[in-house]
Amino acid sequence: MKRYAYYLSCINESMTKEVDRSIDLWQKDLGIELVKLHEGTCCGGSNLDYVSPKHFALVNARNIALAEKMGLDLIVSCNTCLMTIRSAKKKLDETPALKQEVNEILKKEGLEYRGTSEVRHLLWVLVDDVGLDTIRQKVKVPLKNYRIAPFYGCHILRPSTVLGHDNPLDPTSLDQLIEALGGQTIPYKHKNRCCGFHTLLVAEQESLNVAAEALQEAIQSKADFIVTPCPLCHTSLDGYQAKALKHAGVDTSIPVFHISEMIGLALGYSAKQLGIKRHIVS
């Protein structure tokens, strides 16, 4: 059983509780153990970095240091938390003076940021560590009748200087996971585009236009559902779907799944167990 420290994202503790619930169901089936970091704090959600770059460095040095203390890599299941914490790590690793300043403060809690733990997305762990062959072997209910639109979201791809796992122009990891689970990925131009989440409260109409475009392409391509590795993309594409499509004059809908739910379905868990009924679009 390979162990990892698991970062608790704010949204997964409030609106998208089904993410952590479904991961809890199947993590042992796939031979991984995610140890929850209850001491971890909000990463700053791609906002704290410009409000106060130094607080941003402190908060995320601490988040990573908590995992380092356990000698484990830090696993994240929200794209923006991933990009944010990895950005902080890059800054800390490239700026010795900042690292020293932050570590002076972290001493208070007996912590030290060393830069030894990697910060990785759950999707990367599944593809690279668990492996697609293992996943294939564990599938009980192949998703063979489903045409699936893979929506990667921005912050698992860009900036590539911070992320670097997939080619942001032509990402493949999510497609590979879908295929390992027996599903059929569809060609989907919006796979590496934006969901509009980060401006939903600031430039709502623009965000809804962005979301509507991604939804419409999936609907027109006759996808059965969209799947995303990011709970923020899920919130935009599922929670705001009715509003986005209504504005675009589209009178239909499409379900949006988290990767954790799609895996759960293929491993034989029910929609109810996985919390799929909590989605706004059924």
Binding site: I11, E13, M15, E109, C154, F197, T199, N209
Partner: protein, 345 residues
């Protein structure tokens, strides 16, 4: 349409089909693509191939180009869907990544009006640069100009060194998610120029420019998708500039003047108080009660029915060990205050 190309040197050649976007609004009812197949050897750029096509196969193909060396920024276009300069893009490199073997699709930049074929109208971008005063309005009295040097420190120059690399090719404009959703949006290139001018100590209209940047369709409308930065042909960290304007806006104008700054403040204060984001009140803190009721009530009802609503503030559990976390957070606040003091000196 297949014609041999004279490369003046020997070597392996590949037959490449350039699938070129065609549209002349004065003649055509809708756009179409023309295929031109030519043999191309390693080292040849997309622009050189287009020049060849124009000279030898079809003189009516229209595109804009000048320096052929990645300096002037004229030949921005989409090559296999990616906005970039035709003159610095190697045909063989594109072929290696091409989904359709042997085919390279060439299209005009997005988010700008089309004039003809691969030529877009740059005027909306220039108009925005004017609107956001993308120039230095010097603090030096006119009488002194030309009589003495206007020196800046190296430290200051390094703050906008990268931003001065921009050649206005509009690749970032073409890739911008928000501009695609609303053509009124300021656009990444204009934000980058605005940042460059606003951090220059020789400039006298910083406050005026910033006041314009924080209005609707300005800096707060960026949705952090990083497509601009990823497509920049000069590898400029454009998001750093956008975040730089936001940081400046918060420092110069406070955190209460726009929904964007109020939204950002909520993150800072929630992290300090609980270590967690209090999502239930985020819409109200960003836009007020009236906006929230008008815009989010129907969705809130659906969320309640699905038990999906975020917990009210008292029920948001603080992160474990919040007391010591808060102390550390506040210690950093003192560091930041000190930094500001020494910065002002």
């Amino acid at each position: 349409m297949t014609v041999p190309i004279d490369q003046h040197n020997e070597g392996v050649k590949k037959n490449v089909t350039f699938r070129v976007f065609r549209f002349n609004p004065q003649v055509d009812s809708k756009p179409y693509f023309d295929d031109y197949t030519i043999p191309v050897e390693r080292g040849i750029t997309v622009l050189r191939s287009l020049n060849y096509i124009k000279e030898h196969i079809d003189a009516s193909v229209s595109f804009r180009a000048f320096c052929q060396a990645g300096i002037c920024g004229s030949c921005g276009m989409r090559v296999n869907g990616r906005s970039q300069l035709a003159c610095t893009t190697q045909v063989w490199d594109v072929l290696a990544r091409s989904r359709d073997e042997g085919i390279i699709k060439v299209e005009p930049l997005r988010n700008l009006p089309l004039i003809k074929d691969l030529i877009v109208d740059m005027d909306p971008l220039v108009d925005k640069m004017k609107h956001y005063s993308n120039w230095i309005d010097s603090t030096m009295p006119e009488a002194s100009m030309g009589k003495k040097e206007f020196l800046i420190s190296e430290e200051e120059f390094l703050r906008y060194d990268k931003a001065t690399d921009c050649i206005l090719c509009a690749s970032c404009v073409s890739e911008c998610s928000i501009l695609r959703a609303n053509k009124e949006y300021v656009s990444p290139a204009v934000l980058l120029k605005s940042y460059r001018m606003n951090v220059d100590s020789r400039d006298s209209i910083h406050g005026q420019r910033l006041a314009e940047l924080v209005k609707d369709h300005g800096v707060w409308d960026c949705t952090h998708c990083y497509r601009c930065q990823e497509s920049c042909v000069k590898s400029i960290p454009i998001m750093d500039a956008i975040h730089g304007i936001r940081e400046d806006a918060i420092e110069s104008r406070g955190m209460k003047d726009t929904s964007g700054s109020k939204h950002a403040e909520a993150f800072m204060s929630d992290i300090e108080k609980k270590g967690k984001l209090v999502e239930a009140t985020l819409p109200i803190r960003t836009n007020g009660v009236v906006w929230t009721l008008q815009n989010l009530l129907p969705m809130a009802v659906k969320m309640i029915m699905k038990r999906r609503t975020p917990p009210p503030p008292p029920l948001v559990k603080s992160a474990k060990g919040i007391k010591i976390f808060r102390e550390m957070f506040r210690e950093m606040t003192e560091h930041v205050k000190q930094d500001h003091k020494s910065h002002k000196k």
